[in-house]
């Protein structure tokens, strides 16, 4: 029994699918932003896994560097998204993103 690239990539794909489901199916802005965070993290995990198990023989630190950049971008996106969610709440007293829909 061992852990290789396939297992980590499968978990990464599952995490990405959960995030995509949250973005598509949930109405709450907070849950949608959590879903985008999961999608960012899934991409980061895939980069790190490729660096560790596959192409890391060429540049072992590239995957981790991309993961750090992607995580920081995800945090910046979360900050802006939550500020917009807070504005939506001020206007409509709800965190649902489709409060104006008929």
């Amino acid at each position: 029994m061992n852990v290789g690239l396939n297992l980590v990539l499968a978990a990464s794909a599952a995490l990405f699918a959960v995030g995509a489901f949250a973005v598509v199916a949930r109405r709450s802005a907070v849950l949608m932003l959590i879903g985008t965070q999961f999608m960012f993290m899934a991409g980061s995990i895939a980069f790190v896994a490729f660096a560790r198990f596959s192409i890391g023989a060429v540049n072992a630190t590239a995957g981790a560097a991309v993961a750090i950049f992607a995580g920081a971008i995800a945090v910046a996106e979360l900050a802006l998204g939550l500020a917009m969610a807070s504005l939506i709440y001020r206007e409509h007293r709800s965190l649902a993103v489709d409060t104006d829909r008929g």
Binding site: M1, N2, V3, G4, L7, V8, A11, A14, L15, V18, G19, F21, A22, R26, S28, V30, L31, L33, I34, Q37, F38, M41, S44, I45, V48, A49, A51, R52, F53, S54, G56, A57, V58, A60, T61, G63, A64, A65, A67, I68, F69, G71, A72, I73, A74, V75, A76, L78, A79, L80, L82, A83, M84, A85, S86, L87, Y89, R90, E91, L95
Partner: protein, 179 residues
């Protein structure tokens, strides 16, 4: 491009295989929980747990710096932002006292997880450090090879902080009556 050194091998150490498998399963399960839980507070807690589990995965297969950044920066900042918005919108702390039973249980769970992480990191003979083959020069590589990327990242984070602050400081539009 010629390969430098030997190709990386799959992880075969039994404790590490068990740890990574458990972390991956729990990570997907807590992500599912954060999406399907109805309470925003519990969903945020499950999200934080997912981020901690990703940090544990990084501890096993990535340089130590990535684990530290994921745990200390990304997890705490994301969770703090979410809790801050929940406090502003749904009034999280209006229904629970600061030292209620739920808060004490949550603090105990967080302390237990932190103690577990400290034990894992402090145990140098455990196979975690044996698999971290690129951790030594990662910090210097990040600061030298990717210095432009780091500079761009600082600009992006500053812009995000400024934009978030401006959005929160914007005046609320007056709503028409009767809506």
């Amino acid at each position: 491009m010629p390969l430098i050194g030997a190709l990386p091998q799959p992880i075969t150490s039994a404790p590490l295989v068990i740890l990574i498998s458990a972390v991956l399963v729990l990570m997907v399960a807590s992500a599912l929980a954060s999406v399907f839980l109805r309470s925003a507070v519990f969903a945020t807690g499950a999200f934080a747990a997912t981020m901690v589990l990703i940090a544990l995965l990084y501890l096993a297969i990535a340089p130590f710096l990535l684990f530290a950044v994921q745990l200390l920066v990304f997890t705490t900042v994301s969770a703090a932002l979410l809790v801050g918005v929940l406090r502003r919108t749904t009034g999280v702390d209006s229904t629970q006292e600061p030292f209620s039973r739920e808060w004490i249980v949550g603090a105990a769970v967080a302390a237990a997880v932190l103690a577990l992480l400290v034990v894992i990191v402090a145990t140098t003979s455990w196979p975690v450090r044996a698999t971290v083959n690129a951790g030594a020069g990662f910090g210097s590589t990040l600061a030298n090879t990717y210095v432009v990327g780091l500079a761009v990242l600082v600009v992006i984070l500053a812009c995000a902080a400024l934009g978030g602050g401006l959005l929160l400081a914007a005046p609320t539009t007056a709503r028409p009556r009767g809506r």
